[in-house]
Assembly symmetry: C2
Homo-oligomer: 342 residues x 2
């Protein structure tokens, strides 16, 4: 049913190749011919067949975005920005959710669909340096997040150590005496986001002359509301419960707030809470959430930009880039009742 170059060629009375040339903007075409071909194209509503084009040229105009979960608001918002940025370059985004499983991440990155996509942007959770180095030279790839910063692949991230440090300082300055952290993952290695945020937390505590009580660093398995809820309940059951909590993402923080409310305590009067990511919900929750707001638009722009550079064939001397994305500490009700900024 869809028409091909051949159909257009027949209608315009030229060769298939000439139509191809018109479509691809080859300059040496007479005005008359170009006119006839373009007329035929629109009459037949011709659209190039992407599969055939990909088969011939190796380009599909499709890039993959691989994230652990797409229904986590942070990743959903990020995906939205990336789709926008990709669209501006005429690319379509294929979104792949890995569930954070290494095997799935390997596939996403090395590509069970590598024959369909021109490149991938991945936000890895469990994947290892070896997995990456195995494919980095053959498949255009940009990594998001702090994990695997130094394995020779283009990389976009927020400075987690600095951000965690800043938000911890904020809690201390606002009067937190026993500051806890929620979000360490026992299974993560030292490069992981969670490890870096713990590091920033420790740094701020030490700089302020506060002892770090290990039992106030609550571990989680996932990064969802129920994980934050459970962790906060454990913290509240301690003999010396915290009066301030740094959560490593907004969902953990929102779960923690829910647990605090269920314990008939108030936020921030009894426990101050901070998050990470600045998802939209953080601006509408009760109380509104103090959080670290990375510039997601800039993050998406940078990632797509780096990928574009790889796909279009970068000058060989270009080194893998490490892009640091700016962030802001947004202070809201969950740490300072009056300080609403949004």
């Amino acid at each position: 049913m869809p028409s091909s170059l051949k159909d257009v060629a027949a209608r315009a009375g030229v060769s298939v190749k000439t139509v191809s040339n018109v479509v691809n903007g080859y300059p040496f075409i007479s005005v008359a011919t170009r006119g006839r071909v373009e007329a035929a194209i629109s009459e037949l509503n011709y659209r190039p067949n992407a599969s055939a084009r990909r088969l011939r040229t190796g380009r599909s105009g499709l890039i993959a975005l691989s994230v652990p979960e797409i229904d986590a608001p942070y990743f959903a918002e990020l995906a939205s920005h990336i789709v926008d940025a990709a669209e501006q370059r005429g690319w379509t985004v294929l979104i792949d959710k890995t569930g954070g499983e290494r095997s799935h991440e390997q596939l996403a990155v090395a590509g069970i669909r590598s024959d369909l996509i021109d490149g991938a942007i991945a936000s890895p959770l469990s994947i290892t340096t070896a997995d990456i180095t195995a494919i980095k030279d053959t498949h255009p790839l940009v990594l998001l997040g702090e994990k695997l910063m130094r394995c020779g692949v283009d990389h976009v991230a927020v400075d987690s150590v600095a951000a965690a440090c800043e938000v911890t300082e904020h809690l201390i300055e606002s009067g937190g005496t026993r500051v806890a952290a929620i979000g360490m993952r026992a299974e993560d290695d030292a490069e992981s986001t969670s490890a870096l945020r713990v590091q920033g937390f420790r740094k701020a505590m030490t700089a302020a002359g506060r002892p770090v009580h290990e039992h106030l660093i609550a571990t989680v398995h996932g990064y969802y509301r129920p994980d934050g809820y459970a962790a906060m309940r454990r913290l509240l059951a301690l003999p010396d419960p915290p009066d301030a909590v740094v959560c490593f993402n907004d969902l953990l923080a929102l779960g923690a707030i829910r647990a605090i409310h269920d314990a008939r305590l108030r936020v921030p009067a009894d426990v101050a809470v901070t998050g990470f990511d600045d998802i939209e919900e953080a601006r509408f929750s009760t109380p509104r959430l103090t959080t670290i707001a990375p510039d997601k638009g800039a993050l998406a722009e940078a990632a797509v930009d780096l990928l574009a550079r790889q796909i279009t064939g970068l000058p060989p001397e270009t080194k893998p880039q490490e892009v640091l994305i700016p962030y802001r500490l947004v202070v809201r009700q969950s740490t300072l009742p009056g300080a609403d900024t949004a």
Copy 2:
């Protein structure tokens, strides 16, 4: 770099077609040959080239999911379920966000990428019956949501009228005397989700012998927290503000709650609030949100199933299906302080 059938064939000492037959499970292959071919396949790490396959067979293993916004939690959760359901059938999902614009929805459905995808699942906002009928016979398509129920395309939806009716009844029974609704969209036609929910709201009010005050039906432009926030502020500024509000999705409800709290009122003591969709946030918000919970898993299953039936070529006598998905009214704190069920 990736190996092709030809490489595998050379290595196994058989013809290209035999390798193709092995890959595709053609039965008449001797054990010895199959063994050699499979060995060669794994030694060369052969993967079929999807573009070539698509070119030859017309199948790509790719389906599109077209939603207005991917960072709206409802759509994100839905997308997640659909990706899971599609994965079980070996399909990959390409997620397309339309922003609710008609032109983009047309493209998504009729397919700027129709040459790449085998079919589409779309959740339309602005598209018209004419747009659909124009392409329904040539492109496998399943629609989500109530809009355009009767245009001869497979369709999966929740009974919005019944659900809106049920949640309104619940508010009346729990003591709401002035019940308002948030979520009508002036620009929507009578088939739209918002119109149907208004209809269910009116039905319940009338059945309970309550007058429907038109100024208590607050209109919105979008379905996000800020829209619910603004609408609720308008309602609270009325001389006879409502003491119960039916919101047409959870985000509107969460925005409304935020507005109520900002007005120094309590939920549900001063104003009871209900949502629609049962996004995860509704189970963790303060207060937890009473809402209509559609069975999203069933919805995704049904949609992918119907699409599969179309793609694999349905028996010609099969009529377009209209699938109604079950839902539950989940009562939580936002209408009954003690009634938490989740």
